[in-house]
């Protein structure tokens, strides 16, 4: 059953990636014909099957907090789920979200056993850390997608590359949405860092922190970027391109942490 769900979900995510990619690369003068119309549908069904796969894994004892791959799978599913209500107005973001869903699914299903039987020294603190980190990662994935889209749209407007058709969300709308996501996710991510540090201290004291130095430094960069973005917005009104770049920096740092955990596992 798991194999069937995985294949079907992967195929749907793949089809959604192709559909959204095709829509983006399409010159709208030719009209929107063929597969690109179905991107949203493929993505929704892909996410539904992805959710079922996560459910089956939970039944088998592989819950999202068990290891980094399962947590990443859950986070990317959450990001895709968060994107779906916005997909009509942010169709361009689909070409990012669909591959992200596929990568999360593959990590969660294919590599879940590689990650070992569970979080070492799993405690309530560890569970809280992984949960918060997964939610934060999902939120920042979405925020990074919106930020990327902002940069693309802004560049087009400044270069006077004027695409026909429905403009989707306005530049100001994208900026606000990105800011809102960062505003909501930064506290979650902060708590994830705090619980992570406490968990390390709980496991072996301050000397253990040295073993996680890379994650701690990159985590600090991610946090500084997101918190700095919020402060700069409040104090100087920083928005637009600078804000989008800071969001992307924060997200990139989070991806490095995930990769580092994955390599460590």
């Amino acid at each position: 059953m798991m194999l069937g769900l995985f294949i079907a979900s992967a195929l749907l995510y793949g089809a959604a990636s192709v559909a959204y990619g095709s829509e983006r690369s399409h010159d709208r003068e030719d009209g929107r014909e063929g597969i690109e119309r179905f991107g949203r549908l493929f993505l929704a069904f892909g996410a539904a099957l992805h959710f079922l796969a996560i459910g089956v894994q939970c039944v088998q004892g592989d819950h999202p907090l068990k290891n980094i791959f399962l947590a990443t799978s859950f986070a990317t599913w959450a990001a895709v789920l968060g994107y779906l209500p916005l997909s009509r107005r942010l169709s361009a973001l689909g070409s990012v979200m669909a591959p992200i869903g596929l990568v999360g699914l593959v990590l969660g299903v294919v590599f879940s056993r590689v990650g070992g039987s569970g979080v070492p020294g799993a405690t309530a603190l560890a569970s809280a850390h992984v949960t918060l980190a997964a939610i934060g990662f999902a939120g920042f994935t979405l925020a990074a997608g919106v930020a990327g889209l902002y940069l693309v749209v802004e560049r087009r407007l400044r270069n006077k590359v004027f695409r026909r058709g429905s403009p989707g969300m306005s530049l100001t709308g994208l900026d606000r949405l990105q800011h809102l996501l960062v505003l909501l996710m930064t506290p979650v991510f902060t708590l994830a860092i705090v619980t992570g540090v406490l968990w390390i201290l709980e496991r072996g004291g301050p000397e253990h922190l040295g073993g996680r130095l890379f994650e701690i430094i990159v985590g600090a960069i991610a946090w500084a970027a997101s918190a700095g973005l919020l402060v700069a917005r409040a104090v100087w009104g920083t928005r637009g391109r600078r804000s989008a770049i800071l969001t992307l920096v924060s997200f990139a740092a989070m991806v490095l942490i995930v990769i580092s955990y994955g390599v460590g596992a």
Binding site: R28, E29, G31, V153, L157, R158, K160, F162, R164, G165, P167, M169, S170, L171, T172, G173, W236, G237, T238, R239, G240, R241, R242
Partner: protein
């Protein structure tokens, strides 16, 4: 057969000076339509009057009432027929139907794909129905044309993309700010194009419009005209800090807004985006301003190039739209053909029944010994023979009239049938229920066009 007519003048055939003389105000529809209908012997009639066209759509027994209707219309407007040479058109049958469908779909508009014409056509149709001058043919034609136009708008991109400089400016502003409600528009200079852009932006929801102009009198006049507020030239920088969209169209030979003006403005704006629409030539905004963060600067060439692209794409889409319309026009013409044989078939059946009844009556007189049951059998036999004899010719005539089969031509067949059976063919004249009082023959026009054969 009833003939559909489309006639009048439009932006392709006549200059505005002539079109405006023919223009029909809403309250004039009743008297004008009634008079044209009576004088030109039209069974059904309606008039569409917009800034780009004044066209009459009607139904008559043939094409000849077309020029008469136009002559009557010209007489009503006291227009010298000599002025109309080459400016009027009359189309009949399939050409008329195609024209009406194309008008509804905005393929005949000056700006192909513009949305207003469909609403105007609907209003004209509703008005004619209210007056009571629309019959089954115009009703069917306009209903199908409106449906077809909606299909064209949905299935093609003919209506996509702004087609004028002010509407492109609005489109761009929407891409930057989303809903323009709450946006402030600053008009720098009092040019006509800036006025048009302001009107478009206001219609799209812009809340506040501020006019800054060197001449207070002209600035104030423009502000009053567009429902805005005038500010003195010295207040330009302060207004730039507040505005979201700035439309510039001064007559200045040097830029009135440069990098040094914009730097403090953007600082004060706390990096809120600012959209410049510079439609002045020479340009009012130094191109270097466009390099500043959060500033979007479009000059008249940028906007014109977008308009050109959109119009080019619309023209391409017009071909697809035409193909869609072709199918709908064919469906309408098929309906026209099939409805026209109905009365003839009725007459043929009536003729058959009359003959059978007479012959059965005569036969029964010679067979007085038959009982009731036997008489009924004879009567039944007579009717059955008639039905079987007429069934195939009637079916074939219907198919030929539908145009669903290859020749023979339905009209020729119907005429042949009418001649052979000595019936009045329903395909060569307007049925009595579709016609109304052609009591007053109208004078033959001397300067009006001949009908264009379909």
């Amino acid at each position: 057969m009833s003939t559909l007519l489309a006639m009048g003048l439009n932006h392709k055939s006549a200059p505005v000076e002539l079109r405006e003389r023919f223009a029909v105000a809403t309250e004039e529809h009743g008297p004008i339509l009634q008079r044209i209908r009576e004088r030109a012997e039209l069974a059904e009639v309606m008039v569409v009057s917009t800034c780009n066209r004044v066209e009459i759509y009607g139904v008559a027994k043939d094409l000849t009432p077309g020029p008469r209707a136009l002559a009557e219309f010209a007489q009503l407007r006291s227009i010298d027929p000599g002025l109309l040479d080459g400016h009027l058109f009359v189309r009949g049958e399939a050409d008329a139907a195609r024209h009406i469908f194309r008008v509804a779909a905005s393929l005949e508009s000056m700006v192909v794909g513009e949305p207003q014409i469909l609403g105007q056509l609907k209003d004209a149709f509703a008005k004619a129905k209210e007056i009571g001058v629309v019959g089954p043919i115009l009703d069917r034609c306009l209903s199908l044309a409106i449906k077809s136009a909606k299909r064209v708008r949905t299935e093609t991109e003919i209506a996509r993309g702004a087609a004028s400089i002010p509407s492109v400016a609005v489109d761009l502003a929407t891409r930057i700010f989303g809903n323009l409600t709450g946006c402030t528009v600053l008009i720098v200079g009092a040019g006509e194009m800036a006025e048009q852009a302001a009107v478009h932006l206001r219609a799209s929801g812009a809340t506040e419009i501020v006019v800054v102009n060197r001449s207070e009198e002209r600035g104030q006049t423009l502000a009053d005209k567009i429902g805005g507020r005038y500010e003195r030239w010295e207040r330009l920088e302060a207004q730039l800090t507040r505005a979201d969209v700035v439309v510039t169209s001064t007559g200045s030979t040097l830029p009135v807004i440069d990098r040094s003006t914009i730097r403090p403005v953007m600082r004060a704006r706390r990096q809120r985006p600012l959209f410049f629409v510079d439609i002045a030539v020479p340009r009012d905004v130094d191109p270097a301003v466009g390099q500043a963060d959060h500033v979007f600067l479009y000059n008249v060439d940028d906007l014109q190039s977008i308009v050109h692209d959109n119009l080019r794409i619309r023209a391409g889409e017009a071909e697809r739209a035409d193909a869609l319309i072709h199918d709908d026009v064919e469906a309408f013409l098929q309906w026209m053909r099939s409805r026209s044989v109905g009365p003839l078939l009725g007459k043929l059946q009536h003729h058959g029944r009359t003959v059978v009844d007479a012959e059965v009556k005569r036969a029964l007189k010679r067979l007085p010994t038959l009982d009731e049951k036997q008489r009924a059998v004879v009567e039944q036999m007579g009717r059955a023979i008639m039905q079987k004899l007429l069934h195939r010719p009637m079916t074939n005539l219907r198919k030929a009239a539908d145009g669903t089969e290859e020749p023979p031509d339905g009209v020729a067949l119907a005429d042949a049938l009418a001649t052979l059976f000595d019936l009045e063919s329903g395909m060569s004249g307007v049925s009595s229920d579709e016609r109304s009082g052609p009591e007053h023959p109208a004078p033959e026009p001397t300067t009006l066009p001949r009908p264009e054969p379909s």
